[in-house]
Symmetry: C2
Subunit: 108 residues, 2 copies
Amino acid sequence: MQIDSLENKVFLALADPSRRAIFESLTRGEAAVKDLTAQFDISQPAVSQHLANLKEAGLVRGRREGRHVYYRVEPDGLKPLVDWITHYRAFWIDRVDRLEQLLDGMDE
Amino acid sequence: MQIDSLENKVFLALADPSRRAIFESLTRGEAAVKDLTAQFDISQPAVSQHLANLKEAGLVRGRREGRHVYYRVEPDGLKPLVDWITHYRAFWIDRVDRLEQLLDGMDE
DNA sequence: ACAATACATAAGTGAAGACTTATTTGTTGG
DNA sequence: CCAACAAATAAGTCTTCACTTATGTATTGT
């Protein structure tokens, strides 16, 4: 029994193709659950569950307007993912830098 | 029955915390299966299975040397992930740019 | 050659997860 | 108000998956 970090939630949320497809759709603009349900070949509850998952991961935000709930992408939602990547990317760049330094030193 | 794309494999591979931990460990340097098994609290077969998964996703590469198999990070392995992110990040930046253009236009 | 070491594969198990249908909860138009 | 619509939640099913133990496959040292 372990609390999952936001980072883990983001990775888990994006691991599912349907969820990524929903997220991608939302990057093209706000949409109500109804619209998303029409757009994909899964039931309305499935869509709602995916949205709840994305919301839990901080990737998406819901806004009620009358009978509809409009979802939109949360701008900083991908930050944990970006941070994770840049962290390890930075490591490689650092290694490359150090390699270059080494090579430069050998030139002299 | 559906082929899964490399993109999907990458997302799936990184969705598991143990697998991310193994990947992260490998960014700190090449390691044999034995070393990784010692490092984490799971069995050797579990480690091998995770490595096979990471390899299938193009995130990792194995090199046999005698009885040992040394694994290392595949430098371009994260590219699908980076591409995916920048694709949608580009969309937001574009939106921000257009918003700024609009605001600039209103100044005149 | 063979015992030992390192790793991979096989097979089984329990938990998590992605769906479904059925129902409940909000919210409005008539 | 209430019939109808929109979305969320409940409950059940079937699959996927992360592990385990057991076994197979390479590759050495002696």
